[in-house]
């Protein structure tokens, strides 16, 4: 018998679909009979989905520019100073 406490403990694996089939069947049976756990499971799944679905906003231009400048500076004239093949290798 799966209790609500058991269900909550297994919720992550249940949502990530990493539970073994026997346990999974028992957990499924539980949420079909237990409205509370069904709602908890459903709203937790939606919580994860809503975060996953949120795209990262484009980087503000000045931040992108400063990043590219920092990279260019790093790779700049001093490049190859410590490495094997200098900039004029080819």
């Amino acid at each position: 018998m799966v209790t609500c406490k058991d269900f909550l403990r297994e919720l992550n694996d249940f949502l990530d679909e990493t539970t073994d089939p026997v346990l999974r069947a028992e957990l499924e049976k539980h949420i079909n009979e237990c409205p509370n756990c069904w709602v908890i499971c459903d709203t937790t799944r939606k919580t994860i989905q809503v975060y996953k679905g949120m795209e990262a906003q484009a980087l503000p231009d000045p931040i992108h520019q400063r990043l590219m400048n920092a990279l260019a500076k790093k790779a700049g004239p001093g490049k190859g100073g410590s490495g094997c093949c200098g900039g004029d290798a080819h």
Partner: protein, 214 residues
């Protein structure tokens, strides 16, 4: 089989196209590295911002992580995805910032939570079918950010890596220097805490509790 020309880059899988960029960057081509970074900069920045909760720190993290990645590109062997490797560097930078800024105990990722009581569930209510009809994208974004910001760093960071950046449990454990069990228990708490907060916003109005919809 005879129609395949693996040297034509357009026909390559995205992963191999990316490895080509990595190879070119390893030979010192900054443009190739810039292209690699361009694909992920917004995600790295967002992650750094969510962990540090500070715009300035997030920009520092982004820059430092990218410069370090460029500098140590030789040590990237390609067993993991480039993005995972970059994320690992950025998470470490973020955590250092966090520790520097608030040098109090709440920042510790090693905090022993195993002694705490069971995860708590208070709000049990179904959600509106279409919250996006009631809120704009921007409002939803703010609601989500606010909910994440309210979590303790140990929960926030695990959730961001697992459920936002979609690292595996093993990768998350490795990046944070935690055991798999610790990642799992923190993730459960984080998910339930967020569920709790979002339910207060997204629950179906007028219905007290329990839409037993099955």
């Amino acid at each position: 089989m005879e129609n395949e020309h693996p040297e034509v880059s357009a026909a390559l899988e995205p992963a191999s196209a990316e490895m080509l960029l990595v190879e070119r960057a390893k030979r010192g081509e900054v443009a190739a590295f810039g292209e690699l970074i361009g694909k992920y900069e917004r995600r790295v920045y967002r992650m750094a911002r969510q962990i540090t909760q500070n715009d300035e720190d997030a920009e520092d993290v982004l820059q430092e992580a990218c410069l370090k990645a460029f500098e140590h590109l030789d040590s990237f062997q390609g067993q993991s995805k480039f993005y995972t490797w970059l994320t690992r560097i950025a998470v470490n930078e973020s955590l250092m910032k966090l520790r520097k800024r608030k040098s109090d105990r709440t920042v510790s990722l090693d905090e022993n939570i195993e002694t705490e009581e069971e995860p708590i569930v208070r709000e049990i209510a179904v959600w509106d079918d279409n919250p996006e009809l009631r809120y704009s994208q921007e409002e939803i974004r703010q609601i989500l950010d606010k909910a994440i910001d309210s979590l303790k760093p140990i929960f926030r960071t695990v959730f961001i890596l697992r459920d936002v950046e979609e690292l595996s449990t093993e990768e998350t454990a490795e990046v944070l220097g935690l055991s798999i069990a610790a990642v799992k228990s923190r993730l459960l708490r984080a998910r339930l805490q967020l569920r709790e907060k979002l339910t207060r916003v997204f629950k179906r109005k007028g219905e007290q509790i329990l839409g037993y919809a099955k």
